[in-house]
Chain length 169, copies 2
Amino acid sequence: MNAANDDRKIPGDKASSHLGFLLSQVGIFASQRFSEAIGEAGIHPPLFRVLNVVDAAEGESQHAIGEAIQVPASRMVAIIDELEERGLIERRPQPGDRRVRALFLTAKGREVLEQGRKIAAAHEQKLIEGLSKKEHQELIALLRKLAESQGIPSGVHPGLSDPIAHTSE
Amino acid sequence: MNAANDDRKIPGDKASSHLGFLLSQVGIFASQRFSEAIGEAGIHPPLFRVLNVVDAAEGESQHAIGEAIQVPASRMVAIIDELEERGLIERRPQPGDRRVRALFLTAKGREVLEQGRKIAAAHEQKLIEGLSKKEHQELIALLRKLAESQGIPSGVHPGLSDPIAHTSE
DNA sequence: TACAATGATTTACGAATGAAACGATTCATA
DNA sequence: TATGAATCGTTTCATTCGTAAATCATTGTA
């Protein structure tokens, strides 16, 4: 008693048991579920990502924030526009340099960020509900090691910078 | 001595160390890299996915194949069109039922599938180059366990069925 | 002052996907 | 065997999404 429809006549293929496929499968699944969950805070993952980074570095320019998470400038504009429309972030002119827009969280922005963090924590819990504490730690350690060995910069999400992860294996 | 640009003035944020973020980050990274790699075989991940499934169940209908990997019918049309144009797959009418198009690999389709498998194997190797044999096995086991506990059906890739994995955490 | 570089923005365009409508065919049943 | 429901594949359409390139304002430099 497990999955929903177990009347599959079609046998599993080789590719779907490789690490690459598993990683991609589980990773994208986690992304999608998180995307749905964070929707309850009225935002979507890119907005949440940026809220987090601005919180960690308030007063930085759009450019600096975008560079830190490898998001193209033209996309940053759209993201910040959206955050500003919702009253979560403020663009303030910088005294020294009138080209720069320094970014700050509003009070409401902090609220939403907190709400988002709770949602993320719940998401996290749901994700590991089938694992023991030890397994959870091991999985994190292995993924970190993998990320490091593959040169994936910390905090940079590929879905935000590059094309879009297609699929398969 | 590690990453490329370590002149980061912006400190890491909390979110980026969670399991959910890591999974999504690493999973999408793996997807993208694989997508580039499989391009050398002249195909992209969805095509490769379908080639694999057709190989595992030749003669099945478009509908059956699509259902097995949860791809909407209208999307199957485009995918099979593409595979057929490249001479990798054949749509054959089914004697008993004239509505059905049974799918078969062509000789060229088998060649490309083999080539794709080699590419996938190389991708796999590259992915685990920083891990020991034991760690590799552990990671697979943990991901499998996670997938199962989360009800992710084997062989079904979320990127093929649902919206598209956005991002972050 | 002229010219290059930078930060932010706008515009135009293309790629991808799914929901829904459609035609053809088959099945169930009266 | 006639009729309506269901199935398979296809087409159409609208939408979402993101980038690349052009643009504007400002600053730094020669």
